[in-house]
């Protein structure tokens, strides 16, 4: 009932305005560029750049590739991590700090270092793996997604009573698989979805590994357009930003429910 509302401090105004300016100007510039046709004359505004993007075969090819890669990464990650984290929470709680520590390893072995190791280790691997994005790249991306998957799923599992649910399910006669799919999974749904959206953002934006391993994903295409075309790159950049934005928004909406971790930092840098 006491709705005391003191006035906003003047310094707060200053910092917030400066922050807003810094963040919004580049976005505006991108939009401005995307609506220009060429340097001289024509002030504004044309949608021809967007048209160029939509009619570009490479665009659709690479975005499809990245998207499918993302889905593949998400599926493999979930299959790999969900049962593991479930089991750790249920039976092996002492392993949890070990896995949590492992989740910090990608901080010490960032993509640029990891790709060097991967390329060296799998140098002699068969072509269907080493030469295919769905093989080499996907397995690397699963590792990239691992910390975010872990923290999100872990928070999800911590928010439900794993023991009670499992015991209740078993006392009613269910097998392990039934318990996992019918009882546990629905309850960590929001955590799993949040982690999935984050992974989507990661894969759609990952450049380092794809670049060094020479695969043609969407970010690679983006860089190519950056280098070769001027203004169409603006349309493409804005599109890329919107994709990230959509993924993060979905994450936030899904994450509102209990058990999902808040937004994390996972994009290409």
């Amino acid at each position: 009932m006491r709705i005391a509302r003191p006035r906003m401090a003047p310094s707060a105004y200053v910092w917030l305005l400066l922050g807003a300016g810094y963040f919004l100007v580049p976005l505006y510039s991108t939009l401005a560029f995307s609506l220009k046709k060429n340097v001289a004359g024509t002030p504004c505004c044309t949608l021809s750049n967007y048209g160029w993007v939509i009619h570009n075969g490479d665009f659709w090819h690479t975005i499809r590739l990245s998207f499918v890669l993302a889905l593949e990464t998400i599926v493999i990650s979930l299959i790999l991590f969900v049962p593991t984290i479930y089991w750790v929470h249920l039976k092996l709680p002492r392993l949890r700090p070990v896995i949590a520590f492992m989740a910090l390893v990608p901080f010490v072995v960032p993509p640029i270092v990891m790709v060097v190791g991967l390329l060296r280790t799998f140098h002699g691997a068969p072509g269907w793996y080493y030469g295919s994005p769905y093989g080499f790249l996907a397995t690397a991306y699963v590792i990239l997604a691992f910390p975010y998957m872990f923290f999100s799923l872990d928070a999800g599992f911590r928010s439900i009573d794993v023991h009670t649910l499992t015991e209740a399910s078993q006392s009613l006669g269910a097998r392990w698989t039934t318990t996992l799919f019918r009882v546990i999974l629905p309850n960590i749904r929001s955590a799993a979805l949040a982690a999935s959206f984050l992974t989507l953002a990661i894969v759609m934006g990952e450049f380092t590994i794809a670049n060094l391993a020479a695969f043609h994903t969407f970010p690679i295409f983006l860089q190519y357009v950056n280098e070769s075309q001027g203004f169409p790159a603006g349309a493409l950049t804005l599109l890329s930003f919107l994709i990230t934005w959509a993924a993060m928004l979905s994450l936030l909406l899904v994450g509102r429910k209990r058990g999902a971790r808040g937004a994390a930092i996972a994009g290409a840098r």
């Binding site: 060097v116 860089q223 603006g234 840098r269």
Partner: protein, 274 residues
């Protein structure tokens, strides 16, 4: 055991590659053990790249930590409407992931030779590329400016919970006991925030140190380590793969050092969060 696939996977795709980098760093072209690669790291241009990376990382970590904290505090403190905080957090979540290639283009569109801001200044009669030849988007300062775009949001997201933890009762109790604003900050506010602040600083440093895509797209030449590593694979600059591995090993050492400092700091911060 259920956890076997997980461990097998991480060993195969994380630990083994990481180890292979370590090992490769100490091998020569004939795969014999040697320190020569490591020794080479201390020569130009490699040592310059390390200094470049460290410089940029320090600058963006300090600037990101300071300004990020000021912005976050402005949004969270009493008196600021609640919606500003939500907007800031949401936007930070998105902006933190808007790095790499798209970010580089956005900055080129803003501060590049044909950039929106550059043109504004030029139309106003002020061509800063002449006045400030050091400031060029495709220079160290430019890269730092671009890096802030994901460093600031990272700081905001990380420090917000710590700022929330600054209980209003502390400020009032301090005032009640006679303290002025600055005395509160000096004796209570800053000491309580320090572990979180330092932890966030380390996070920002590591984040910047490992960054590759943005610098690549801003055509950084070879003054930071990730670009140098990439050059081996995308260009033909280095001819000895073990140098690239040694460079990667060097990065690993720097980052591991950061982690060693980070973990106890986190524990400290959590202790006072009660």
């Amino acid at each position: 055991m259920v956890t076997l696939p997980f461990f097998a996977y991480t060993i195969a795709f994380l630990f083994v590659p990481a180890a292979s980098v370590m090992i490769g760093a100490f091998q020569d072209k004939a795969n014999h053990a040697t320190f020569s690669n490591i020794r080479l790291l201390f020569d130009h241009p490699y040592i310059d790249a390390y200094w470049g990376s460290i410089r940029i990382s320090l600058v963006t970590a300090v600037a990101g930590a300071l300004f990020g904290m000021l912005i976050a505090y402005a949004a969270i403190r009493e008196g600021t409407p609640r919606w500003i905080r939500s907007v800031l957090t949401t936007f930070s979540g998105v902006a933190a992931n808007f790095g790499g290639i798209p970010l580089a283009f956005a900055f080129i569109a803003t501060l590049g030779p044909l950039g929106v801001v550059t043109t504004w200044f030029r139309n106003a009669g002020y061509d800063y590329s002449v006045r400030w030849p050091h400031f060029q988007l495709f220079s160290e300062r430019g890269v730092e400016l671009a890096y802030m775009y994901f460093q600031l949001p990272l700081m905001i997201l990380v420090i917000a919970p710590a700022l929330d933890g600054l209980k209003r009762e502390w400020r009032e109790a301090a005032a009640n006991l006679g303290a002025k604003q600055w005395q509160f900050w000096r004796h209570v506010g800053i000491p309580v925030l320090m572990p979180s602040f330092l932890g966030a600083f380390i996070l920002l440093f590591g984040n910047s140190f490992a960054a590759y895509a943005t610098a690549y797209s801003l055509n950084q030449g070879q003054n930071i380590v990730p670009i140098l590593i990439g050059a081996y694979y995308t260009g033909n600059v280095l001819d000895n793969p073990h140098i690239a591995q040694a460079l990667a090993f060097g990065m690993f050492v720097v980052l591991a050092l950061m982690m060693v400092i980070y973990i106890p700091l986190q524990r400290r911060a959590a202790r006072w969060a009660k």
